[in-house]
Symmetry: C2
Subunit: 153 residues, 2 copies
């Protein structure tokens, strides 16, 4: 359930360094939010992190937790599991296929890979349970968003 101490310490050191490089203030709250994520193997939700950090910083607000997690994800110091545009999205294509997801606008498109290795269940996946389905999730910036963004700079 816990990440080994030496890895956590490495993550914390890199985090401090990255915050300074990116001119993010090292607030008590920010540090504890990151630490709580860095020690956990379970990919906790924001509310879980809030609950845990509150044991040490009893007045920390939900908003601070959400704000920091989003900010850190934006700066590439942590990542958000799945798609960030979080409404349920549905799919009638039940055949083997993969997804390209645009991190800016939430566009999702199917693609198919000619590389059959990608369609094979890795044995390591069985460590945690019985696999049922397999999909490659590629995050990126779609053509539309790329064009739009280029104009902005």
């Amino acid at each position: 359930m816990k990440i080994p101490r030496d890895i956590v310490e490495k993550r914390m050191a890199e985090f401090l360094e990255a915050c300074q490089r990116k001119c993010l203030k090292l607030t008590h709250q920010r540090l504890e939010i990151y630490r709580e994520l860095a020690v956990s193997e379970e990919h906790p939700a924001a509310e879980t992190i809030h609950r845990r950090v509150r044991r040490r910083l009893p007045t920390i607000s939900q908003d601070t937790v959400y704000r920091n997690l989003k900010l850190l994800a934006q700066e590439g110091l942590i990542s958000i599991v799945g798609m960030s545009h979080e409404r349920l999205r549905f799919d009638a294509n039940m055949g083997m296929h993969h997804h390209f997801v645009c991190v800016h606008c939430g566009l999702i498109r199917d693609f198919y890979s000619s590389n059959s290795a990608v369609a094979t269940m890795p044995k390591e996946a069985k460590t945690f349970g019985e696999p049922v389905s397999l999909r490659l999730e590629v995050k990126g910036v779609c053509h539309g968003c790329r064009t739009r963004r280029r104009g902005k700079r």
Copy 2:
């Protein structure tokens, strides 16, 4: 933007057949909800489907759309993109890794694959934009849920 007519017709036929096999009533609403998903390439959200179906069935309720989409996903006639447990989940592990996601309890765990082909960006992924990250998403039932469920039957 649209799926070719012959594929849509094939999907509709299979859908009718599957509903009968599974003793799901063929209501007007259910049919139109599925049809709207079957013709779309964009993995629409529930609200989008609701808006579109309403053009033909003006009194259809949101709940009906949500209820049917969830039911059809449960029966394996459609699928939900991403994780069904939809709270944001965070990750401090920025190295290359993959995810095992339990469809019952939402457990997420990292695993690593020795197969390097899985770590290579498929060229087909570039069709829709500039890829940034790559991850294998394996859905399944975790050990804990499997044990619990076996007891129930």
